[in-house]
């Protein structure tokens, strides 16, 4: 017989349920936004979509860029941005693989 059948839908009342109050997670590491948001999907090659690769890439690039931007803003607003690295790693030339 399973445990849940015994507890009849009520969660178990042990330390695993509440977690440890005294658990101190490691301080959040500083976030380094990618200098090239589209690198991930470009590394995978052309997506299996029945449109021209350039069209697919353009759409994906746009969403990746905005998503990275949103995450970067979230990190910056909460002091999680590794600003030093960010300032030093803006790519100066064309993105590789293009």
């Amino acid at each position: 017989m399973s445990r849940r059948r015994r507890t009849n839908g009520v969660p178990p009342a042990d330390g695993r349920f509440w977690g440890r109050e005294d658990h101190e997670p490691a301080p959040a590491s500083k976030i380094r936004p990618t200098p090239d948001p589209g690198a991930m999907h470009r590394s995978l090659g052309n997506p299996p979509l029945a449109v021209s690769p350039a069209t697919a890439r353009r759409h994906l690039d746009a969403v990746y860029e905005e998503a990275v931007r949103a995450a970067t803003a979230l990190a910056a607003a909460n002091g999680l941005l590794d600003t030093e690295y960010w300032e030093e790693n803006v790519p100066a030339g064309p993105a590789p693989g293009e």
């Binding site: 399973s2 509440w18 977690g19 301080p27 990618t34 090239d36 991930m40 979509l49």
Partner: protein, 1099 residues
């Protein structure tokens, strides 16, 4: 109606369950409440069936498919709970997959649906853990965050208390909605609120970063950590899209699909860690969810929420109404990248979903295999070798080509797609000519591009990039000179000759002309500095080459020239301070100044304690002596230059005579301070009609340590003074000689001295030319010509004020010792207030008037009536005090005569000096007098002289006007002055904008003067207040000063014995009020006046 509604209605139900329904759509659902609940129950059962099927799948995507379906199922069940309450709660029992065997009927489980059980009321509640107060807890329920309050041993909190917990945690800005409640251990149910993950993310990341919610419970903290991780993944671009059917139970040919974003290249160890510490409370709303699946679902849900949020800023094309061809489907996917749903042929859609899964598999499958891109430093030929290594295949890194041959099948299969990915991003790896796959030789240019541009991109795509460290900082070139004293020469000090060699340094990299030429010829000039590779700027290289070429023949310099180069006072390409190394007078000097200046101890016999900066000043004065240099001691007004110099003179007593030249106003102060701090010094005042001349002066000086004189006397007696061989000459208030062509400046240069020291609180009043004049006096010829000095020191500065500060900073510790009250370390040492007594001269006009008033009083006869006689005497005292202030203060009061003020009063001259210094520092000063009409004249005079409006605050003004004057003065910025009558302005006002106070005349009661000073020195004042009391020695002014100082009583002044005013004899009155010529400081031309006379002569 229900049938007619079914298709549309079910889509609406699913939309609401996903939290995407509009209020109009919710209203439509509310209108069919029963059908809504029934549809949700059917969706829950169907989704659970799909989940059962998915759990039997194999392959790498199984985990994600299961997590997706669990998510969908939870979404539906949460909605059912929310709409129907506990009566319709559903619990899914995933233990059926734990190998427990088939379940029995009769336990509440759906009769035909294993793994699904309708909820029942909680029965035997287990005992709660007895620890801790309730804290804010968070659960995850199908893409939504649910907040509630509770903790082990504590009852769940009420809705009101939950609001407080939410407020305390900083989560109030999130739009929380009521939730049906969260089941807890023991059978209790906690009041709860919920919000879509996308709305709660900002707050959760704030908790994860430690900015808010310090007291939240472990479940909330866990979700916050997951939110931070999701943010990190998306910021790094580590996510890929997936295509999923949104309602998998539909059997028709057309289905609803959506794109969801899932994390890629997830760190397996980190995932294992979060799974292990996930509190069960996180899945309190879906207790069937195992920690593994819940953790993945939470991370995926948060990643998806961030990506959707980002995509809302895009205008994506509209999806085809119903995709029936591959092209339509592709367009539908691209249009739905922001998370929108679209309809498509089921077979076509599921086929594409599978192909997208396979496309993304290299970054979603947790294989444990990774690639390392390693760039080795260049060999002797300048070739950089790049190699790709595989990790996770063997115990150590192996070349990727070796891994693909020697590793087991699974690892080989995992390595190949990673290498393919890498080669797509970095095509140079596929360049023909390499010895093996994954190895390539790079040029310097390519290596730099990899280190600076491509490396971070490859890292973002999940590769471990190991390149030599680089620095993006552009190193600034600076000239370096190596000086070596020419052997066997007789010249010493500034005249000593040195052989010099030039080079240019970029950080710690020293380059000669040949090195620079070689680097300039390279495609990318890289050098290794402090263990990091840096790229040199071509323009910098060209400039460095030109600078070295220009100095190629400049191989022998005097010590003075070397010093000028070091101070940036020489012209040429790459002008500016030059680093000097080697040996010789200048190099040794510069090396000594590079060391921290050690404070010197007070010499034996010095009565007092020097402050730390004064002790440092004393150390600097010794350094100047040892280097044979003159200098400028530029301590701010009130910081105690006089005691410092007296300590230096005392320490060097016996070296030879010192000449101190001061303005008349501070001559007496010097004598008084010498007697106070260094009584062992033989000090003689050389001033006045009875002063020594010629041989007598030389004889006097031979048995004197310090001769004090004024600028005017020094100019008059320059021949006699120039005949004496002085060890030291000290000029106080050295701004007096800022005009180098003035008579005073020219005459003083004629007086020979082993060293010269200039004292001033304002070394730069009008520009760098002032500083040059002072330094050129202290060290003739050393700092070069005036135009070059001014232009070089102002070259890199932004404006004249900055140029002055920069110059003082550049020369500080060498030719200048500058300290200001604004420096925190100095301010900390200073008392809150500094009282300074300034002795002022009387002009001939003042002496004449003074004598006349006194004579009139005594000659015209005193009244027989004691009261009238007393009135006569007090009126005379008032008149004498007015005369000490200024002839106009008396004449104007008596007859209204006199309009020109300048040059007719020693006190006014001293006030000018104080105001100049205060204004030069951008500070503000209060000037008190107890003669209101004189105060008005003074305010007008200062307005005309300074160009700034100076008002007079006195009792004759309307209250509103007085308030405005105080407000304007307090709110004013920068330099400013306000004249106040002692009676009207001496009490009650708050004038903390000023940190200087001048008591232009004295009052009998010291408390009155203290009250005046305390207008500035009071609560709100953050700086040291310097108070100047102006006194004319030898006059009634000094008698008042003695009264104020407590040395005598008023009665002693006017009534030497136990008698009345009526008893005072004329000779007694003359003794009490008359001029004491031995103490009198007579007026003399100042440096400025002498300069003015020179100009008139020239005209």
């Amino acid at each position: 109606m229900f049938e007619a509604l079914s298709l549309d209605f079910e889509a609406l139900v699913a939309t609401d369950a996903a939290g995407e329904a509009t209020s109009a759509e919710v209203a439509r659902l509310e209108a069919h409440h029963e059908a809504w609940i029934a549809t949700l129950r059917r969706l829950a059962v169907d989704t659970n069936e799909a989940l059962l099927r998915a759990r039997r799948l194999t392959g790498p995507e199984r985990d994600q498919v299961v997590a997706d379906l669990i998510d969908e199922r939870e979404r539906v069940s949460t909605a059912l709970h929310r709409i129907g309450g506990d009566d319709y709660a559903i619990e899914f029992d995933d233990d059926v997959f734990d190998g427990d065997g088939p379940h029995q009927d009769g336990d509440g489980r759906h009769p035909d649906k294993p793994g699904l059980r309708l909820a029942e009321a909680a029965g035997d509640a287990e005992e709660l853990l007895a620890t801790g107060p309730p804290t804010l807890q968070a659960s995850w329920a199908a893409g939504r965050v649910v907040l509630w309050g509770g903790g082990p041993g504590a009852a769940p909190v009420s809705a009101e208390a939950l609001v407080e917990l939410i407020d305390d945690a900083g989560a109030k800005p999130v739009r929380w909605e009521l939730h049906g409640g969260v089941p807890l251990p023991g059978g209790a149910r906690a009041d709860a609120v919920t919000a879509p993950a996308g709305q709660a993310l900002g707050w959760l990341v704030g908790v994860g970063s430690g900015q808010v919610g310090h007291d939240v419970g472990p479940s909330t903290r866990w979700l916050a950590d997951m939110a931070t991780w999701a943010t990190e993944l998306v910021a790094e671009g580590r996510m890929v899209p997936r295509l999923r059917r949104t309602r998998s139970r539909e059997n028709g040919p057309t289905g609803s699909f959506s794109v969801r974003w899932v994390p890629a290249l997830v760190d397996g160890d980190r995932m294992a860690s979060v799974i292990a510490r996930m509190p069960g409370a996180v899945s309190a709303c879906s207790s069937s969810q195992p920690a593994d699946g819940m953790s993945r679902a939470v991370l995926a849900g948060m990643v998806d929420a961030i990506c959707r949020e980002g995509a809302t800023r895009l205008v994506l094309p509209a999806a085809p109404p119903s995709a029936k061809t591959p092209v339509d489907l592709a367009e539908g996917v691209l249009a739905a990248l922001g998370g929108a749903r679209f309809d498509a042929a089921v077979a076509l859609g599921e086929d594409l979903a599978g192909r997208i899964d396979r496309w993304t598999r290299p970054v979603t499958a947790e294989t444990g295999v990774g690639l390392v891109v390693r760039l080795a430093p260049p060999d002797r030929e300048g070739v950089w070798l790049l190699s790709v290594l595989a990790s996770g295949v063997e115990s150590s890194l192996v070349p990727v080509e070796v891994a693909m041959v020697t590793a087991g099948r699974a690892k080989r299969i995992a390595v190949e797609p990673q290498l393919t990915r890498l080669e797509r991003l970095y095509p140079i790896l596929g360049r023909p000519g390499g010895q093996r796959r994954g190895e390539v030789a790079l040029s310097t240019d390519e290596a730099w591009t990899l280190m600076s541009v491509t490396g971070p991109v490859l890292e973002a795509a999940g590769f471990d990039v190991q390149v030599p460290p680089l620095s993006r900082r552009r190193p600034s070139p600076a000239l370096r000179m190596f000086a070596d004293a020419v052997p066997h020469q007789t010249a010493v000090g500034a005249q000593q000759l040195c052989q010099v060699r030039w080079s240019v340094v970029f950080d710690d990299v020293e380059l000669n002309a040949a090195d620079i030429a070689k680097l300039a010829a390279e495609a990318r000039p890289l050098v290794k500095s402090r263990g990091r590779w840096i790229e040199l700027d071509r323009a910098d290289l060209q400039e460095a080459a030109a600078a070295l070429a220009e100095r190629a023949t400049n191989t022998q310099l005097s010590g003075a020239a070397v010093l000028r180069h070091a101070l940036g006072l020489e012209s040429g390409v790459m002008g500016g301070p030059v680093t000097v190394e080697g040996s010789g007078w200048a190099a040794d000097l510069l090396r000594a100044t590079a060391q921290p200046l050690l404070p010197a101890e007070e010499p034996a016999g010095f009565r007092g304690k020097l402050r730390e900066y004064q002790a440092q000043s004393l150390g600097w004065l010794s350094f100047l002596d040892s280097a044979g240099l003159g200098g400028c001691l530029a301590l701010d007004m009130g910081l105690g230059k006089t005691p410092t110099v007296l300590a230096h003179l005392l320490a060097n007593r016996g070296d030879g005579p010192a000449l101190v030249i001061t303005p008349p106003a501070v001559l007496g102060n010097w004598a008084a301070e010498a007697a106070r701090f260094a009584p062992a010094l033989e000090v003689v005042i050389h001033h006045g009609p009875g002063r020594a001349e010629g041989e007598a002066l030389a004889k006097l000086v031979s048995r004197t340590d310090v001769l004090l004189t004024t600028y005017g006397t020094a100019v008059r007696d320059v021949d006699d003074l120039a005949a004496i061989d002085w060890t030291r000459t000290i000029v106080d208030e050295a701004q007096t000689i800022k005009n180098p062509s003035s008579d005073a400046a020219q005459c003083l240069r004629r007086i020979p001295s082993r060293s010269r020291l200039a004292l001033t609180g304002t070394p730069i009043e009008n520009g760098l030319g002032d500083l040059w004049a002072i330094l050129d006096y202290a060290n003739p010829g050393l700092v070069g010509a005036r135009p070059a000095f001014v232009s070089h020191l102002s070259r890199t500065s932004n404006g004249p004020e900055a140029a002055g500060e920069d110059a003082l900073r550049a020369l500080n510790g060498l030719l200048v010792f500058r300290r200001t009250k604004a420096e925190p370390a100095i301010a900390a040492e200073l008392p809150d207030k500094i009282d300074q007594l300034d002795h002022c001269s009387l002009t001939q006009e003042q002496i004449g008037l003074y004598q006349a008033v006194l004579d009139r009083l005594l000659n015209e006869g005193l009244d027989e009536d004691p009261n009238a006689r007393k009135g006569q005497i007090l009126a005379a005292i008032t008149a004498l005090k007015q005369i000490c202030n200024h002839p106009n203060a008396y004449l104007n009061a008596e007859s209204g005569e006199g309009t020109v003020l300048d040059g007719r009063s020693g006190k006014l001259t001293r006030l000018d000096e104080i105001v100049d210094a205060v204004f030069a520092a951008g500070e503000r000063v209060l000037i008190f007098t107890h003669f209101a009409r004189w105060g008005e004249q003074l305010a007008g005079y200062l307005t005309n002289r300074t160009g700034r409006r100076v008002a007079c605050y006195h009792g004759g003004l309307a209250a509103g006007v007085r308030d405005r004057l105080v407000r304007e003065f307090q709110e004013g910025k920068g330099a400013g002055a306000l004249v106040l009558s002692l009676k009207a302005g001496g009490a009650g006002l708050n004038l903390t904008a000023a940190n200087h106070v001048v008591l232009f005349d004295r009052w009998w009661n010291p408390a009155t003067e203290d009250q005046a000073r305390d207008r500035s020195w009071r609560i709100g004042q953050t700086r040291t207040v310097v108070s100047h009391r102006l006194v004319c020695p030898g006059t009634v002014d000094e008698r008042v000063e003695e009264v104020v100082a407590g040395k005598r009583q008023i009665a002693d002044l006017v009534l030497p014995k136990q008698s009345t005013l009526a008893d005072l004899a004329p000779d007694q009155l003359r003794a009490a009020l008359g001029l004491r010529t031995d103490a009198l400081v007579e007026d003399e031309p100042t440096g400025a006046e002498v300069a003015g006379r020179d100009e008139e002569d020239a005209a």
